[in-house]
């Protein structure tokens, strides 16, 4: 358990057949599932990635008395407890059927129902008949929220009318717009990233001939990344902020510091897994990634968390029509004992950006404050922040104009 684990997060890069870290939580699920359900979906749909392009797809169905509208909505989970999230998730049954991703353009009856669920803005009742119910275990993932029991459905029906927000209906009806434009527009209109991810995974966004089911894991990061790119293009046109703004938030054992600096756009994030935290062991493991001007060309070493953490910062700048250089420090403590998905980063940073910022006149004061709130000694992580260093060191040609 080491640096490799921090990069891999359960994806078996070590060559083992099971991840010793995620295996720790298999005991958690304890529900009995009947083979015929008439229950609400939060609404939620899931598309697997194994076997692509022939994948498993279907709804998540809520079988507990937890209010269905919160069980697949991380926007509601911020600031809560890990146990609650696990409780919501173990109470969701995933009903699968095999389908080719291309069928999204011309869906059969069951896939049509899945698309209706994806469109809906609030819970709706579904009826599912299972031919097989899988084992009673919890599955964890670095990107997705944990999943509970799954089974194979032989019949699926929506027994309710989906309530489709007008903005969503229009976006789905637009068969000429590119996914990047449409995701940014949906965000502008106040549709949550989670609903947009649901539409993308169900093959309901983008140019008609390109529409297909997108494995949910990919759809999550695709929405963060494409919407982010669109917002960056806008932000580069805005005036720079003129002070240093420091935002802070902590939940689920994840501490976030976000520093905005008066500078042309850049984004740098450092992830500090403190010693004895989920993916680290005897010593802290630190990973950094960054981008400046232009577009990030290679997939981040930090995985989907990079794009999940970048988006709320861009949303903040875009709403205020301002440009800034941004630095995020994410410190993960041992109290983050189960991997919950990249929404922890997205909602953590989003809530930080909602907090009242501390204002500083210079970068050293702001960094001093961050150092005080991060447990890991600064000598270990601060020197790794090369954009921050460049910001401090880089002079302007105007500094020499009158010299």
């Amino acid at each position: 358990m080491s640096r490799l684990c921090v990069r891999c997060k359960g994806n078996l890069l070590c060559g083992r057949s099971k991840c010793p870290i995620t295996e720790r939580f298999r005991f958690l699920s304890r529900y009995e599932v009947r083979d015929h359900l008439i229950d609400p979906t939060p609404p939620s749909v899931f598309v697997g990635r194994y076997g692509y392009p022939a994948v498993n797809a279907g709804p998540l169905i809520s079988i507990t008395d937890a209010p269905p509208e919160i069980t697949d909505n991380p926007g509601e989970w911020a600031g809560g407890r890990i146990e609650d999230v696990l409780r919501f998730r173990t109470g969701l049954v995933r009903g699968n059927f095999r389908v080719n991703v291309e069928e999204a353009r011309d869906p059969g009856r069951m896939l049509q129902y899945v698309q209706e669920i994806a469109l809906s803005g609030s819970p709706i009742d579904v009826e599912a008949k299972f031919s097989k119910i899988g084992n009673n275990s919890m599955r964890f993932d670095d990107t997705l929220a944990p999943h509970g029991i799954s089974g194979t459905v032989k019949d699926l029906r929506v027994v309710d009318n989906p309530k489709v927000p007008h903005k969503v209906e229009r976006a789905v009806g637009d068969t000429d717009a590119r996914v990047s434009e449409i995701t940014a527009e949906l965000l502008d209109n106040g549709v949550s990233t989670y609903h947009i991810q649901r539409l993308l995974t169900a093959g309901l966004l983008g140019k008609k001939r390109d529409r297909r089911l997108v494995p949910t894991r990919w759809a999550v990061t695709a929405v963060h990344d494409t919407a982010g790119k669109e917002l960056i293009a806008r932000i580069m046109m805005y005036d720079q902020i003129n002070e240093f703004l420091l935002f802070s938030y902590e939940h689920f054992g994840n501490h976030f510091e976000v520093l905005l600096m008066p500078a042309p756009y850049f984004f740098e994030i450092v992830e500090i897994w403190t010693k004895n935290s989920l993916w680290s062991s005897g010593s802290a493991v630190i990973e950094v990634d960054r981008e400046r001007r232009g577009v990030k060309k290679t997939y981040s070493v930090l995985g989907g968390g990079y794009y999940a953490g970048r988006l709320p910062v861009l949303e903040y700048l875009n709403e205020r029509k301002k440009q800034a250089g941004a630095m995020v420090v994410r410190e993960i403590h041992p109290s983050y004992w189960a991997p919950l998905g990249v929404w922890v980063v997205e909602e953590g940073v989003r809530n930080a950006m909602k907090s009242k910022p501390e204002i500083f006149e210079n970068v050293d004061q702001a960094v001093e404050r961050i150092k005080n709130r991060i447990r890991t000694p600064f000598q270990k992580w601060l020197p790794r922040l090369s954009m921050l260093r460049e910001f401090k060191e880089q002079r302007s040609i105007y500094d020499f104009l009158n010299g």
Binding site: R293, E390, E393, Q394, I397, Y398, L401
Partner: protein, 245 residues
């Protein structure tokens, strides 16, 4: 107003030198030629391009200023082949830029020059060291430095010129002695620069045989190179990084 014929390669190198920093710039046109100057959005680097009348095969111009989307112009010029001659027409009255080569005619709108950031004054800098070296040597050093760091130190002493990069655990030094340089005015100078900018400069610089660097200590550096044997000239000014502790 400008109506001229020019080798596609010369014009392309000139335009390339600008788009390394900005997508739009102001063309100043006079009887003597065409010049353009721009500063990147971060105010870290400045480019000055000069294409003298001699750089053109035919040249007819009246004093004027035009705002040009240079990144668009560059994309079109990339389609020209070696040896192609380009007809370039800049008509502010009609608000059009037009280029023609090998049967292709492309025209698009000029930008109101007042919508483009005003060009700065060129600072008067006292830069004691002057190094003229082969462009390929410069390119090699920057490409090597980029592999391990995001910044390099340019340094001279009485006998040598050094380009040094330092990563977390590794270090690269590229040095050339007086004899290996094309020309050298020695001095003790040392400044640090962002590789991000230098690697952009390398692209147009490597279209020329040699590059001349003017260097001071914790001071901006000037990089000069010729286009087409001195008929054109590009100057980059790059502000340094200064270590805080």
């Amino acid at each position: 107003m400008l109506d001229a014929l020019i080798s596609a390669e010369i014009l392309r190198t000139g335009v390339e030198s600008i788009i390394t920093l900005v997508p739009e710039s102001r063309f100043r046109i006079s009887e003597n030629g065409l010049t353009s100057r721009a500063v990147d959005p971060a105010n870290v680097a400045m480019v000055s391009l000069e294409l003298k009348k001699d750089a053109f095969d035919s040249f007819s111009a009246t004093e004027s200023e035009a705002g040009v989307d240079v990144s668009k112009l560059y994309e079109i010029l990339k389609m020209a082949k070696k040896g192609d001659t380009v007809e370039l027409l800049v008509d502010e009255d009609r608000g059009k830029l037009e280029i023609r080569f090998s049967g292709l005619k492309y025209s698009y709108n000029l930008i109101d020059p007042s919508a483009i950031r005003k060009e700065p004054k060129v600072p008067n800098l006292d830069l004691p060291a002057r190094i003229t070296m082969k462009s390929e040597d410069f390119k090699k050093a920057i490409m090597a430095g980029e592999k391990i760091s995001d910044h390099v130190v340019l340094r001279t002493d009485e006998d040598n010129f050094y380009i040094e990069a330092e990563g977390d655990t590794d270090r690269i030094v590229f040095s050339l002695s007086k004899a290996e340089l094309i020309d050298f005015t020695p001095s003790n100078a040392r400044s640090m620069f962002s590789i991000d900018y230098l690697k952009e400069f390398v692209k147009p610089i490597s279209r020329s045989e040699a590059v001349t660097i003017h260097l001071g200590t914790d001071y901006p550096a000037r990089f000069e190179f010729d286009i087409s044997g001195g008929k054109g000239k590009v100057e980059y000014l790059l502000a340094p990084r200064i270590e805080s502790e």
